[in-house]
């Protein structure tokens, strides 16, 4: 029996060695990135100060058609985004055909095909896997259909790429954190690695720690799973037990912030720790304004406004305007004090209370009717 167990262990050891061998064979190639492979994102030039021509371009405007190829339209965020975009397109006299893959990446590619066959004046791609949508974007552009992409780092530089400005998001919230806590503090850092926008925010945070030695990181947790908020809460409850002296928490997006709030409550630390987050939704507003809520502030863009900006880019592209390769949308700071003072309870009230959230100047033009996104 024992010899059998021994043999098993030996086998495991051999297997492990073999695996290590494999790793070394492939590990020499470089630092992870496979260079020059087809479908790699191109180096885009960011042009945030781009303005549209004041005179109406020659391209089609009345009754133009926009195909919106979406990875998902379900959930608070995506619905607001879609409504913002649709409203702007309709206001400009266009027609929208929405292809909603409901989170199914394969279906998104199939629907992309349908969208190209329908010969719209422009295609909007909202989220998706870059590798899956890349060939379809190439196909659309070679068919003469301009493409505007939101939040997918795709390869073809002829398609315009719009995303949130993750650097501005992280800078905005960390500046406020420092402003509220000038003497520094002990930070619980809630973030996960391997997701592009979160990694950009991480870079800003790491620099912040270097530049501001009065802030130290005492805990780091966060779980990216099928249920982020509740799993992050479980982890946070354990991690915060080991760091009871935590005074601040920085969560890199709102589901992580939700998990942090639950963990703090479970550990009876809600009155000792101030939470700083990213993103905003009606649910987030509720959590921030709740009596005794430690969530002090969040940096975010308004999804409906983002949808409207992407729509304006699409309208301009359909009208024949030469669009830049990339544009990023800056974030606004939303504080707990502001929400409470103005009695804000949902996104609509927030838009009324914080006009900064709407950015009609971004890609605005006299020949594109202005809309108030989300109202």
């Amino acid at each position: 029996m024992k010899s059998k167990a021994l043999r098993l262990i030996a086998l495991a050891a051999i297997a492990a060695t073999a695996l290590v061998g494999c790793a070394q064979n492939t590990g020499d190639a470089g630092s992870g990135q496979q260079p020059g492979a087809a479908g790699q994102p191109c180096d885009r030039t960011v042009a945030n100060d781009v303005t549209l021509p004041t005179d109406k371009p020659s391209g089609p405007t009345d009754g133009f058609t926009v195909a919106m190829v979406r990875q998902s339209g379900v959930g608070d965020y995506f619905e607001q985004w879609g409504n913002g975009a649709t409203k702007q397109i309709k206001a400009a006299g266009g027609q929208v055909d929405v292809y909603d893959a409901r989170g199914d990446n394969a279906r998104q590619v199939a629907q992309f095909n349908d969208a190209i066959s329908a010969r719209p004046d422009v295609i909007i791609v909202d989220h998706g896997l870059a590798d899956s949508v890349n060939p379809k974007i190439d196909e659309a552009i070679s068919n003469g259909i301009p493409v505007v992409v939101y939040d997918v780092n795709i390869a073809n530089c002829e398609a315009m790429y719009i995303s949130q400005d993750d650097t501005s998001i992280a800078t905005e919230i960390l500046d406020y954190l420092k402003q509220e806590n000038p003497d520094g503090g002990k930070i619980a850092y809630v973030n996960v690695s391997g997701i592009a926008p979160l990694d950009s925010r991480d870079a800003v945070y790491q620099q912040f720690l270097k530049d501001n030695p009065q802030f130290t990181q005492v805990a780091h947790f966060g779980k990216y799973s099928e249920s982020v908020a509740s799993d992050t809460a479980t982890e946070g409850a354990a991690a915060l037990k080991a760091s009871p002296d935590t005074t601040l928490a920085f969560a890199a997006y709102d589901e992580l912030a939700k998990g942090t709030l639950i963990a703090l409550r479970q550990n009876n630390m809600s009155d000792k720790v101030k939470v700083y987050g990213v993103d905003i939704s009606t649910a987030d507003i509720q959590l921030m304004t709740e009596p005794g809520s430690p969530w002090r502030a969040t940096a975010a863009t308004d999804p409906a406004n983002v949808g409207a900006i992407v729509a304006r880019a699409a309208i301009a592209a359909a009208s024949g305007v030469d669009m830049p390769e990339k544009m990023t949308i800056p974030a606004a700071l939303i504080t707990q004090d502001m929400l409470r003072e103005q009695g804000v309870t949902n996104m609509d009230e927030l838009r009324a209370a914080l006009p900064d959230l709407a950015t009609p100047e971004l890609l605005g033009a006299p020949w594109i009717p202005q809309v108030q996104p989300g109202v």
Binding site: V74, D76, K241, N346
Partner: protein
């Protein structure tokens, strides 16, 4: 090897035997000691309570799963049912602004219904247990999202038809996981109570022995006069209710209708139940083993999290721990009683 032909459980003493019996407990103690030395504040009552509170959700679901494992096979729908509880609680209290007790009753009914569906599929319609519960798992996961249109239900949100929901999680419901008595949350008392009841039921009553008899050899149990189908039915129904109770605790902790909650409780519950096989050399699903499995896994996860290891390494270690426990149950000794599931 073949010398120990006497009686499976009472074989002559050997190192292997000792390890099989006390391996999990010893490793657990070792891990606890190492963490206590390495992590300041690990060996405190506060931290121990935190471990129990964290594990209570999956552990209660695992106790239900233990019952089904005795008579048939693992109930794979427990995570989905726990999640269904979170959604039902949110719908009752937030959407319809009803009271906490109403929400609890609704959750228990929902759990019992799913448990009975499992039982009907398995006992009357002869679907293999693992496949039947897998089917209900997917169905319930879809059902809970359908109930709330895939959205997290929260006070103050606007529904697609334009109405605003004004209800909120009531204080009495939030107290289940939020209120402490003598420094221990009510949810931990509930967990301990359910664990003791399950243990007494399985180990100290006639019904418990029949449960094991049904699982060991259903035909023999039937010939001995046991109503086999009734026992199988009961096990799956109870499992549904226990999973619902686990979900009630989770809902009380989250206080929002998180549609994804509960899904991760399934794998934890499976791990606890299977580690339980290895506790004290039981080699069969048992209540004490499941509870020790829950504490064992909780201990490891709590320590690793406090050491700052990222979550994916924890999943890896959880998997290795499970395999270690399975090896002790199934591989270290050849002669064993065949109670285990197929």
């Amino acid at each position: 090897m073949t010398a120990q032909v006497s009686v499976g459980e009472r074989a002559a003493f050997s190192v292997t035997d000792f390890f099989v019996r006390y391996g999990v407990v010893l490793v657990g103690l070792l891990v606890a000691i190492v963490f206590s030395v390495v992590i300041p504040g690990f060996a405190t009552v506060d931290n121990a309570v935190s471990i129990l509170q964290t594990q209570a959700v999956a552990a209660i679901a695992a106790l239900g799963m233990t019952l089904t494992a005795i008579v048939g096979d693992l109930d794979l729908s427990v995570g989905a049912v726990a999640g269904l509880s979170v959604t039902v609680a949110a719908v009752v209290m937030i959407r319809f602004a009803l009271t906490g007790p109403t929400a609890i009753v609704a959750c228990l009914i929902a759990g019992a219904v799913v448990g009975c569906v499992n039982a009907i599929l398995i006992v009357w319609l002869s679907v293999p247990p693992l496949l039947a519960t897998l089917g209900t798992m997917f169905t319930v996961q879809g059902l809970k999202r359908w109930l709330v249109d895939g959205q997290t239900l929260i006070t103050g949100m606007t529904l697609p038809d334009g109405t605003r929901v004004e209800g909120r999680f009531t204080d009495d419901f939030a107290a289940i996981d939020g209120t402490q008595v003598l420094g221990i949350p009510l949810s931990v008392y509930l967990f301990v109570l359910i664990a003791v009841l399950a243990w007494v039921f399985l180990e100290r009553t006639r019904y418990g022995r029949v449960f094991y008899a049904v699982g060991g050899n259903a035909e023999a149990a039937r010939l001995a006069g046991a109503r086999v189908r009734r026992y199988q039915f009961t096990a799956y129904a109870i499992s549904g209710v226990l999973a619902a109770i686990a979900g009630i605790i989770l809902a009380s902790r989250l206080r929002q209708g998180d549609v994804t909650a509960g899904d991760s409780a399934l794998l934890d519950a499976v791990a606890m139940t299977l580690v339980g096989y290895a506790v004290l050399g039981a080699k069969k699903p048992n209540a004490l083993g499941t509870v020790i499995g829950a504490v064992f896994i909780g201990l490891i996860l709590q320590g690793l999290t406090q050491l700052g290891l990222p979550y994916y390494t924890q999943d890896l270690i959880k998997g290795l721990v499970l395999i270690f426990a399975l090896l002790m149950s199934f591989s270290l000794r050849r002669r064993r009683r065949r109670f285990a599931a197929h």
